[in-house]
């Protein structure tokens, strides 16, 4: 409903503008040659009324158009988010950005191209009809100019049809190449040629796309002026001295002005289309859920992440205590933890409570990433993620457990974008606080000691020793603190 109201206002806005132009031109021409008794009051009132209609619908269109766009944006985001429930986005982090951009693009469709294009179509028809009924003798030249418009638009479509794909390809290529170069910047000094990221090809493609539209508009302008010249050169005797002759003249003179919004919307239409394709092409892999009830014992046989060239691992049956998976970076520790948690596909067997379990995320296990993700939200909200219905008291207790008492004064403090106000060590301990709050039996901790000072490591190891009396804790680390009580130690480096 709002969509059509937006469209209606846009069309009325544009049509009233064109009518105002045509009508005022006719009015002054008629006034110049008016016979005595010419009723000038009515046209004068009409001119002012048209002006007011144009202003009012202009504001209404902007207002409702944006309201409609925001509603669409909200719906699109929430629908996408609902689809992502217990799924895995099969893409690199960058695609999150493009996904967000694409959704913005699609939500904007009515303002970006549907309304301007419909308005342009309505004005095009109006120009044709007005000429046909009022100055039929000038129809030829106006019709030629108007026919040129869709033809030019088609030509531009044809010329730019692969532009968007090419641009997407160039962007992807640049992103992949530059990411590799940037992550390997420590090697630049060893190279003969200095590394220079270059986006010129992308820019050229972008500018050429805009250029196509601009040249199209110039062509329309030129065609309009040529037709106008021809109209004046081949003016029939009958048309001379008629006030309405000014109507086709004005239409042709300003053809570029009143068609430009619709014409430039072509680019928006094409990027909307490619955004839709990109959103549809996104792949989400569902993470199946596995409810084993409370886990009393856990065992792993010949387990490894699927399609990875890393050694398979055995873990003897454990009912509590700490299992240390030690290994240097790249030895497959993280993927092993994720595999045990059931977050990624694996080869091998997982055995919980003495029975072999299928694939899926273990409900009673908690995987803590090497760099726990902290939301741009309050500290309390970041802790409350761990479980439903966490109270303030529990949150404070969790902070005390993980030696973050200093933060507990201000649970409502905003942590900023990706929690930049916290140190690396604090972020790590918030991850552990979440594990503690989750009340799950199995903890899978990825590099919990990395980047901590020696005293902090000792402290954390002590706390983990205590927690291991109630939990099965599997730690992946290249650091083995001296005071960590380890039940099982598996060295991944030696398995290679």
């Amino acid at each position: 409903m709002l969509a059509f109201l937006t469209l209606f206002l846009a069309v009325v806005h544009l049509l009233s503008g064109l009518t105002l132009l045509v009508f005022s031109a006719w009015f002054i021409a008629a006034s110049a040659i008016a016979a005595p008794g010419f009723n000038y009051m009515l046209p004068a009132v009409l001119v002012r009324a048209l002006a007011l209609i144009r202003i009012a619908t202009g504001y209404g269109y902007l207002y409702l158009g944006h309201e409609h766009m925001l509603i669409r944006l909200k719906d699109a985001r929430l629908t996408l988010f609902a689809q992502l429930r217990q799924t895995h986005i099969l893409a690199r982090s960058q695609l999150n950005h493009t996904l967000t951009d694409n959704i913005d693009n699609v939500a904007n469709a009515w303002i970006a191209w549907i309304s301007p294009m419909s308005g342009a179509l309505a004005m095009w028809l109006m120009a044709l009809l007005v000429t046909y009924f009022i100055t039929p003798m000038q129809l030829t030249w106006v019709a030629i100019a108007l026919t040129a418009v869709p033809l030019l638009l088609l030509a531009i479509f044809w010329l730019t049809q692969h532009q968007q794909q090419r641009l997407n390809y160039l962007r992807k290529h640049f992103e992949a190449q530059s990411e590799d170069a940037l992550l390997n910047a420590h090697l630049w000094h060893l190279q003969q040629q200095p590394v220079k990221l270059d986006a010129s090809l992308i820019w050229k493609a972008e500018l050429n796309d805009t250029n196509a539209t601009q040249y199209g508009l110039i062509a329309i302008h030129g065609v309009g002026l040529i037709c106008l010249s021809l109209l004046l050169i081949f003016l029939p005797q009958k048309s001379v001295g008629q006030a309405q002759l000014l109507i086709p003249i004005m239409l042709l003179l300003s053809i570029k002005d009143w068609l430009s919004a619709g014409f430039t919307a072509r680019q928006n239409w094409q990027s909307d289309r490619s955004a839709r394709e990109a959103i549809a092409a996104h792949q989400y892999q569902p993470i199946p859920q596995l409810d084993t009830g409370s886990i009393h014992s856990l065992q792993v046989r010949q387990l490894r992440a699927k399609d990875r060239n890393i050694p398979a691992v055995d873990i003897r049956q454990a009912i509590q205590g700490i299992i240390l998976l030690s290994g240097s970076s790249g030895s497959g520790k993280s993927s092993l933890l994720q595999g045990i948690a059931g977050l990624i596909p694996v080869d091998g067997e997982r055995i919980a409570n003495n029975s072999r379990i299928g694939t899926g995320q273990l409900q009673d296990a908690c995987y803590v990433e090497q760099y726990p993700y902290l939301f741009s939200a309050t500290l309390f909200d970041n802790l409350a993620v761990a479980r439903k219905g966490i109270s303030t008291g529990e949150a404070v207790a969790a902070l005390q457990q993980t030696h973050l008492d200093a933060l507990s004064d201000n649970l409502q403090q905003w942590l900023g974008i990706e929690a930049r106000t916290l140190s690396g060590g604090e972020m790590k301990r918030l991850g552990l606080a979440r594990a503690w709050l989750s009340k799950r039996s199995v903890w899978l901790l990825d590099e919990p000691f990395e980047g901590l000072a020696a005293s902090q490591i000792e402290h954390l190891a002590h706390w983990l020793n205590q927690q291991s009396k109630q939990h099965i804790i599997i730690i992946a680390s290249h650091i083995q603190p001296a005071n960590l009580t380890v039940e099982q130690h598996i060295d991944l480096d030696s398995l290679r």
Partner: protein, 533 residues
């Protein structure tokens, strides 16, 4: 450009001074195009007067003058378009060259301070935003200021009353726009935090999806997002309600101006109104065509207004990157023996009264994590501003090794050419012969996201790269930081063995064999002291 105290504007102006010339040319061309349009309007009104009011066929002179000026108008439009395209491209490339300069100098010390996405956005969003501002927004700003004057002069010379109406209306428009702009800004300020937080929430939750799923927190987040979206939309609408008035004010004045002039001209032609010189259809139509042009360029400027905001956001990212602390360091060529006296780094503060490096030295660099070991090494490489830097064949080995996408051969040789025998020999030196045998295509095995190599093996490849370079001096920045204790001992031995004949500076907070070092640089309380060991 106006003098201003606003630092963002100053930075924009400073960066843009290089594009002054093309800005002037572009503005000049656009003005010419505007003049051609006005001339076209004039001759058209002459023709219309002859054809409609005098009711005769038009004269050949008027017709050819009209055709000629119309062609000039279109032709100039093409020239403007062509010039603008090439100006934008060369502006972006010039900005890009500045980035190359900084990155070539600061290298890893600079890139590591931000995620790759940050740098990519500089190229994909920020540079285009700046070039659009310099080549579209600024010329348009000049045009919007100059063109009303042309129309004003033209209308005064025809009818002083019309000129007077315009003269009175013209300042009203910018005045209204300023008032509304201020209103919008203060509303935006009021809701700034809310808009910022709510606006970023969706992409934040997408990034944190794995965490949300791991804790089964999806339902909670979904309802939080719903609530946030509603609030965001509500607040945004409050801001735009006022912001859109800006557009409407312009629309109001341009529409009213057309309507008023049409009515005035019409009534004058009818003889109902006589203010100022008499108006015929020729001057009347010319006025009707020209008057909307008072606001046309300003309207167009309004459409480009977002470019200004984008450029201001972009310059805040671009400027600090380009204007890093100046490079005034003294370059010391590595030789038999060199000394650094009063070596100084300003941020973070580091000072060494005396440091010396002799050929074959094995220098151990120690200090707590965060004490500035990496900064010192980066400064010696010339990547971090300091009083001195070293020049010569130096190699640096990082603590977080990676393999580049490509073959093992490319990973070892980088952009040099080495024959296979040399590569095999070096791989044997770093004890990777056995590992090489497990690779499906040997030296031509391609590595992608998950290369079949552990951290220790990748670090050996790093070592092999250095051996292939024949560097005289090797700076080691905790090369074993991410390895287990056992791997650390093993790799350390290997490094000592393979780099025996090189000069080494080795930063580590892990235990190293003291007997293999002859010097020690200790960082404590921002002070670096050298002593023998």
């Amino acid at each position: 450009m106006k003098k201003t105290n606003n630092p963002v504007r100053q930075r924009l102006a400073q960066t843009g001074s290089a594009y002054r010339r093309s800005l002037n040319v572009l503005t000049g061309l656009k003005l010419l195009q505007f003049l051609a349009m006005i001339v076209t309007f004039w001759y058209l009104s002459v023709i219309v007067y002859q054809v409609i009011e005098v009711a005769q066929f038009t004269t050949l002179t008027a017709l050819s003058a009209f055709i000629f000026s119309a062609l000039a108008w279109v032709f100039l439009n093409v020239i403007v378009q062509r010039f603008q395209l090439s100006a934008e491209l060369s502006c972006r490339q010039h900005l890009q060259t500045q980035l190359h300069g900084v990155l070539t100098q600061r290298q890893y010390a600079l890139t590591r301070t931000q995620q790759p996405r940050y740098w990519q956005l500089l190229w994909l969003k920020q540079l285009p935003a700046l070039s659009r501002y310099y080549n579209q927004y600024l010329p348009q700003q000049y045009l919007a200021g100059l063109t009303p004057l042309i129309i004003l002069i033209a209308s005064f010379s025809i009818n002083w009353f019309v000129g007077l109406i315009l003269l009175l209306a013209m300042p009203v428009v910018p005045l209204f726009m300023i008032v509304i702009g201020k209103g919008t800004a203060s509303l935006h300020q009021t809701h700034f935090h809310a808009l910022h937080r709510l606006g970023g929430m969706f992409s934040d939750r997408l990034r944190g999806l794995a965490t949300i799923n791991a804790f089964h927190n999806h339902a909670t987040q979904q309802s939080a997002l719903t609530e946030a979206s509603d609030q965001l939309n509500d607040k945004t609408m409050k801001v735009v309600t006022v912001a859109f008035l800006n557009n409407s004010v312009l629309d109001f004045f341009s529409t009213i101006a057309v309507a008023l002039v049409a009515v005035f001209v019409g009534f004058s032609l009818l003889g109902e109104l006589t203010i100022g010189p008499a108006i015929n259809l020729q001057s009347g139509l010319f006025l009707l065509l020209s008057v909307p042009q008072v606001f046309a360029e300003m309207k167009h400027l309004g459409k480009l207004y977002h470019q200004k905001a984008e450029a201001e956001a972009a310059i805040e990212q671009f400027y600090p990157v380009i204007h890093q602390a100046g490079d005034e360091s003294q370059a010391l060529v590595i030789d038999q023996h060199l000394t650094l006296r009063n070596f100084r780094v300003s941020s973070p503060t580091l000072f060494a009264p005396y440091l010396s490096i002799s050929q074959g030295d094995k220098i151990r660099l120690s200090g707590d994590s965060g004490s500035g070991k990496s900064v010192l090494l980066h400064a010696l490489m010339g990547w971090h501003p300091a009083s001195h830097k070293l020049s010569g064949k130096i190699a640096y080995l990082t603590q977080s090794p990676r393999l580049i996408r490509g073959t093992l051969r490319e990973n070892l040789s980088l952009d040099y050419m080495h024959d296979d025998q040399r590569l095999y020999a070096v791989l044997a030196q770093v004890e990777l012969t056995e590992w090489l045998a497990t690779l499906p295509a040997g030296l031509d095995t391609e590595f992608a996201d998950h290369p079949p190599a552990s951290g220790g093996q990748i670090q050996r490849i790093g070592l092999a790269r250095i051996l292939l370079q024949n560097a005289q001096l090797v700076l080691l920045d905790e090369p074993t930081a991410h390895l287990t204790e056992q791997q650390h001992r093993h790799l350390s031995m290997l490094i000592h063995r393979t780099l025996e004949d090189k000069t080494l500076v080795w930063a580590s907070h892990k235990e190293l064999d003291q007997g293999r070092f002859n010097k020690m640089w200790q960082i404590e309380n921002n002070q670096i002291t050298e002593r023998p060991c």
